[in-house]
Symmetry: C2
Subunit: 696 residues, 2 copies
């Protein structure tokens, strides 16, 4: 038997072999197991969700010092107080979110909370805020990661923007190809990072307190020329507030866990809450530890190091590279270029990149939830829809890349845009939670429960107040420094999503089915079938066969006379084969196909308006895009036009050419693709069930 | 009644108003009249087809002098002899093509001649040659046009490439929008140009011979430093041959008329032949006239004017701009900046741009013929298929633009690539004609006819020999100067077209219908219909209604459980409305739509392999691309996948949303679009009839 035959056989065999197991995997019976796999134990969930908040301690402390430096080195002694403020805030936020996690285990996160309790406007605001935030997470984390890597590998810092963009491209490709976000893969660098930082703190404390030897950061004997000498009163307060709001960068990504509840092992909420607490504790300790060591080792940083940092009376000049606090401290504690120093630098960079990757997972996740509420195209709603996700990912990467480019991959400048979004969603979701408890309290009778609720409400209320306060501070202190860009981004997202929702609503209204047995206007009485014929070959014969099976009220074959000779031949063969379907030939003076057919069909409709016309088109199915260019073009165009003629139904009868096998296989491969964020999203079924419980 | 209702009414009224006259225009009855309009009288046909060959006298003479200058000004006195050679060649070619026009009035031109008489390979070679030629016509004509314009407006020359590209873009847009190539619009500049040149020659002759006053070109007192002093023997002959083959540029575009026969008024062939003769006569006279005047007014040109032209012993240097011969002569005869000088310069430029435009018309024309023979995608074959033509036009423009960019819009350098293609097709088509006559002579008895044929054959034979000789000369003298690029282009076109043809043949073979009543493998026994339901609304109700009308053997509604709540609601409404079609709901653990449906349908096929499954999909029809992004996406993807599953037919039941009116109107506007080259192509009907006469 011939090549093609063999090929056909082979591929059917293949499909047999692949179909069966697939159906087993997906079919009802084993689904729960399948889901089991994807559910995360705490020890894995922590790194998966916490890489973002934990990694932020890599830059947050530095930002605090940077701002303080404006008032000169004397202001550095405020840093512990700012650290304390951040810690308090962190505890507040974590405490509040533990409430969210219990109340909304469905993974809707802040968006859902705000949406259900404060109405769609608030929900949409949160959504826009989060979307902007994801973009900034990518930009900031990667930039900062590059800076940390640079402290070990100078080359990287010299080509900052290039490297940052490279990482973005890498992450994007990874997520487009669809890497299955595997917990264990995330765990290693995160734990290495955490362990590294703690070792550093411990060893530093040991050397400082026990051995009592002096550790000096590389910048220890630099002198800072304060931009504003002897700042006092309001100006000083303002500066401290700015420093504080920079420090708040440490809180970014806390809400991640509350979005990921469905991915936790049972008892989901409890586990999530515990993880949240652990995460908060770790973050806080690391943050304070680094601040303390920075003070101890006399790290000196300035917003414009080139101009404001002096060494032996001379400014350091443009080519001085200011290393991040964490690496300066590590250098002081472990010693420059020591093994641990390098490991920590690498781990820091890696965990920061992972943090960026979480945005790649969160973006489509949020997208699918928004799509469910019709703020984004429906198809984002369905899982494993590669195309839809790809668009989201590319959008995210594009925006982040743009920011990195504009701000020269300078984490300090990018952080000015950051945080706004975070605190918008913090505040709104906490406010929403208060409403939530009020609603429950209105009905709840059980005293124990009531007490518990009142406690929760108190926590959320304080959270709402505190985060709201911070939001104001952030806005006031950072607006001119770039926060306005973030706000602009939010406005754009908000506007787009409202427009999309409007469109969907308009359409829904337009197509709403009338009550009672649907009106007759849409219900034709008879069907007249028309089979389009170009030549007589297998595809057309198949189309004819199918058309006959359809037993419509009348059936005719239709051909367009583009070349008289061909038409003549067609007529003759029609006779010869004795095909028992009347063949009608349309004339086409200008060798067109679409127009005559459309005109003819319109004619049919005019004659008997209460009939529907079914146009049956034989189609080749080919495997490669370039083949596609060579076939069906006129059929496709005709189809496109026919759709605009009312009372028509268009049927394609496909005929699979051998080459189509290629495409089939490709499609099958794409099916295996798993969308980013599928792990943290957890099984869909569960999610939507719970969400509906809470929506109703 | 509401906005939308009004809108709907309005648009239906509009369609009423536009449909009726359109059907009248296109319908059988009045077609001949309609065609009548498009047929061209000789006086219009001449400018339409001859703008290309006539315009080439604007650069051909200059090229001759340029080459001669290599041997120094002394070689200039060979120019008359070269002119004579070109004239002889021109007469030969014209005489030969007069035979073609009579023998092949179908507009197939050289391609058809070579194809029918020398077989597909030769045909395809000619086709590739012509395609390359069209590209070069655009590049050369526009560059030269810019140079001529520049002789009047210096700015243009200073920004040569930019201006050239601008003109290309302009022409491209014009042709994409679909300008109806109107004869009269072409006539004016062409006739102005011809008249201008003749006035110049006449006035020049009068001043020279009668008034006997000396006219001096602006370059008259420059001295040429010959690159090769005192060239003699073979070297000289070679140089003269090179000069001659440059002069042959005057012959480009002669074949245009033979492609355009169908566009002529009856008696087509005779009129075409006459026009051909007129064109030849005009071209020759102008060519010789300009050469003569150039000699008289002592025009001095050099290949590298900056280096080889001296004024008072000093080289002119880089910033010297060498004006085309025709403008130098015009300056000498009419006087710099005189009214006539400016008019002529403008007319020359304009006619050259028109020449470029003819390529825009010829390219798709040839394309449609090649498509008919399945060397190019089928859809190029049909008329008014905007998309197909657009591709061709963009391809042409892109290639030309590239050449212009690479060669700095320098007509002299571009001409080195030119001509090869022309003479390939000349030679092959003439050879083909000889075969043609031989074939006829084999059967023909009538002596008078025989004598006539023998005479024709003699002419074509001489033509074939002469053009073949020139082809060799061109190849030998110009290969290294750039002819190889043209050859490369030809090879690429040839390879592509062979590949496409191969593909079509393979497919044709694969789908060839078996003899006798077609085998049962493709013929299912029963049809099982499945209507996809997402929600209950007008589109789905309509789809259900149609599905019922289809009276297939079994019918069920199919929905995918993506969100349990929604599904529950759907089930309830289904009950409530008492829809008498069983509703089947598929579970989708991963919130997918495509996969479960595919699996289910495959399952159906497995159960009863001899049944066909008809999947009916309700579709929204919207007006704008961005709306399209918001609808049908999953439906479309599902459709795409279904086509690969054998034994399926996919039916879309469109539901036109109000916004679809916009798209409808757009589509209608596009229909009015007329493809470039439609005039010169003449009515399709006639064309294909005649062609079939001659093919049979």
């Amino acid at each position: 038997m011939g090549e093609p035959a063999i090929e056909r056989l082979r591929s059917t065999v293949v499909s047999k072999l692949t179909d069966v197991p697939k159906r087993i995997l997906i079919g009802r019976a084993l689904r729960s197991d399948r889901l089991g796999e994807t559910l995360l134990p705490k020890r894995i969930a922590l790194p998966v969700f916490a890489s973002d908040p934990l990694s932020s301690v890599a830059y947050a402390p530095g930002e605090v010092l940077l701002v303080l430096s404006i008032a000169g080195v004397t202001a550095y002694h405020f840093s512990p107080w700012i650290a304390v403020a951040v810690v308090v805030l962190m505890f507040t936020v974590v405490a509040s979110y533990r409430q969210n996690v219990h109340a909304y285990p469905s993974g809707g996160g802040d968006y859902e909370v705000a949406n259900t309790n404060l109405g769609p406007r608030a929900g949409l605001t949160v959504a826009s805020a989060l979307l902007v935030d994801y973009v900034l997470t990518v930009a900031v984390s990667i930039s900062s990661g590059i800076e940390n890597l640079g402290s070990a590998i100078p080359f990287v810092v010299e080509h900052k923007v290039l490297c940052a963009l490279a990482v973005i491209v890498l992450l994007t490709l990874m997520n487009l190809r669809g890497v299955k976000e595997s917990g264990s893969l995330f765990a290693i660098p995160t734990y290495v990072f955490v362990a590294g930082v703690f070792t550093m703190i411990a060893w530093g404390a040991f050397r400082g307190l026990v051995l009592d030897d002096t550790m000096r950061a590389p910048t220890a004997d630099y002198v800072i020329k304060p931009e504003h000498q002897g700042l006092a009163g309001f100006a000083l307060v303002f500066l401290l507030l700015r420093a504080f709001s920079s420090g708040c960068a440490a809180l970014t990504g806390v809400e991640a866990i509350s979005n990921g509840v469905p991915a936790f092992r049972k008892p989901k909420s409890k586990n999530a809450a515990t993880t949240l607490a652990m995460m908060g504790l770790l973050a806080v300790t690391m943050f304070c530890g680094i601040i303390a060591l920075a003070a101890e080792t006399k790290v000196r940083m300035a917003e414009n190091p080139a101009r404001d940092l002096f060494h032996n009376g001379v400014p350091l000049g443009a080519d001085y590279v200011q290393n991040p606090v964490i690496s300066q401290v590590a250098e002081a504690v472990f010693g420059k270029g020591s093994f641990l120093f390098v490991v920590l630098a690498a781990a820091t960079a890696l965990v920061l990149f992972l943090a960026a990757n979480t945005a790649y997972n969160g973006f489509p996740l949020l997208g699918s939830i928004l799509a469910q509420d019709r703020y984004l195209p429906r198809q984002l709603h369905t899982r494993g829809d590669r195309l839809a996700f790809s668009n989201g990912i590319v959008l995210l990467a594009g925006a982040a890349g743009l920011l990195v480019g504009i701000y020269g991959a300078d984490s300090t400048r990018l952080i000015q845009l950051y945080i706004v979004g975070v605190f918008v969603s913090f505040t709104l979701s906490q406010t929403g939670m208060v409403r939530h408890w009020n609603r429950l309290l209105a009905t709840e009778q059980d005293q124990a429960k009531r007490r518990h609720m009142i406690r929760s409400r108190a926590i959320n209320a304080f959270g709402a107040f505190f985060t709201g306060l911070v939001l104001v501070v952030v806005l006031v202190t950072k607006f001119t420094h770039g926060a306005w860009v973030a706000l602009l981004g939010m406005v754009i997202f908000y506007a787009t999503m409202t427009a999309i929702r409007k469109h969907y609503d308009r359409v829904a209204e337009e197509i709403a089915a009338p009550e009672g047995p649907s009106d007759d206007s849409v219900r034709p009485s008879r069907i007249h079938s028309v089979v389009l014929i170009s030549k007589i070959h297998r595809p057309t014969l198949r189309a004819l066969a199918y058309a006959k099976l359809m037993r419509s009220d009348s059936l005719e074959a239709l051909s367009v006379n583009v070349d008289p000779a061909e038409t003549k031949a067609l007529r003759e063969e029609w006779e010869r084969r004795g095909i028992d379907v009347p063949l009608k030939v349309l004339d086409s003076p200008y060798r067109e196909i679409t127009r005559p057919v459309i005109e003819y069909v319109k004619g049919l409709r005019k004659e008997s308006p209460r009939d529907a016309v079914s146009v049956i088109i034989p189609e080749y199915v080919v495997g490669h895009w370039y083949e596609h260019l060579l076939h069906n073009q006129s059929a496709l165009r005709l189809k496109g036009r026919l759709l605009f003629t009312p009372g028509i139904m268009v049927t394609s009868v496909p005929y699979q050419l051998q080459s189509s096998e290629a495409a089939k296989r490709r499609a099958r491969r794409q099916q295996e693709w798993n969308a980013p964020g599928s792990v943290r999203r957890g099984p869909a079924q569960v999610r939507s069930k719970e969400s509906t419980e809470h929506k109703s």
